[in-house]
Symmetry: C2
Subunit: 132 residues, 2 copies
DNA sequence: TTAATATTAAACCAGATGGTTGACAAATAC
DNA sequence: GTATTTGTCAACCATCTGGTTTAATATTAA
């Protein structure tokens, strides 16, 4: 099979696939609680107690989630007294977008059409993930 | 602290944070081998043997990675005889971009400046992830 | 028919994840 | 000073992850 996309692919290869940073980023984003936390932090700084309040889990669990976000550099912590203030650091999300957007042409319709993959769209509807 | 960003945040809230689909997506993307696989599939269909060739791991391991990508709907499989052809399905990556781009304003410079977070940028350089 | 190829399945393993509880440390409030 | 609040740490647990090896299945080639 011809590598018809190769040219375009190389052009869009901006972000390295092998990156421990991306690993940590994607992994941090893979939990709904952590994504929700980021969303809440978009509303301004929160301390751990505030972050924990709406969550149905123990405080240490919340603390661990924050730690994961911190290690992915998505959250920055500022300690004043006994209170730990968390601030969103969205910068790493740009990496996520940059990496993913490298595939943009592949999900855009004109490209699908160009390749005559209309039947794939149909397949996409009813063909389901092989269940374990 | 005032919720200065709240308005903008709600405006950009397009993709649900709590989504098993996003969980699977981000998780699938959290492994360098799988990201590399996607990149290679961007060059056209590959069967498992071809995908496995450059990888330093057993064939069943490769098969499992493909399965993860498949369950995240990032890969579609077409079986002809004994050969399993894998095709990139980039469509779900749009969700990743949409979710992440909801935070774009927060990583853009004008916004950082607005908040007087220039010192944060410096912090970002040398402040490191709290090590366990 | 027999052998080789492509792939899955099953069993196993070490280590990570995501949660719990209980004890502790430090800062603040009374 | 004593009590309360904020948060960490340590130990523990069940489950998931990512890898292995060996065996099995199905298709193609000789």
């Amino acid at each position: 099979m011809v590598d018809k996309y190769r040219g375009a692919t190389i052009l869009n290869y901006m972000v390295k696939d092998r990156s421990a940073g991306l690993d940590r980023l994607f992994r941090a984003l893979a939990h709904p609680v952590r994504r929700t936390m980021l969303r809440r932090l978009a509303g301004g700084e929160r301390n751990l107690t505030e972050l924990a309040k709406p969550l149905k889990m123990s405080f240490p669990a919340v603390s661990k989630h924050v730690r994961v976000l911190e290690q992915a550099r998505l959250v920055q912590r500022r300690v004043t007294g006994r209170v730990h203030w968390c601030r969103l650091n969205a910068a790493p999300l740009k990496q996520v977008v940059d990496w993913s957007a490298g595939f943009r042409e592949f999900w855009e319709a004109r490209f699908q059409a160009l390749d005559g993959l209309l039947e794939e769209m149909k397949q996409q509807e009813d063909a389901h993930v092989r269940q374990k």
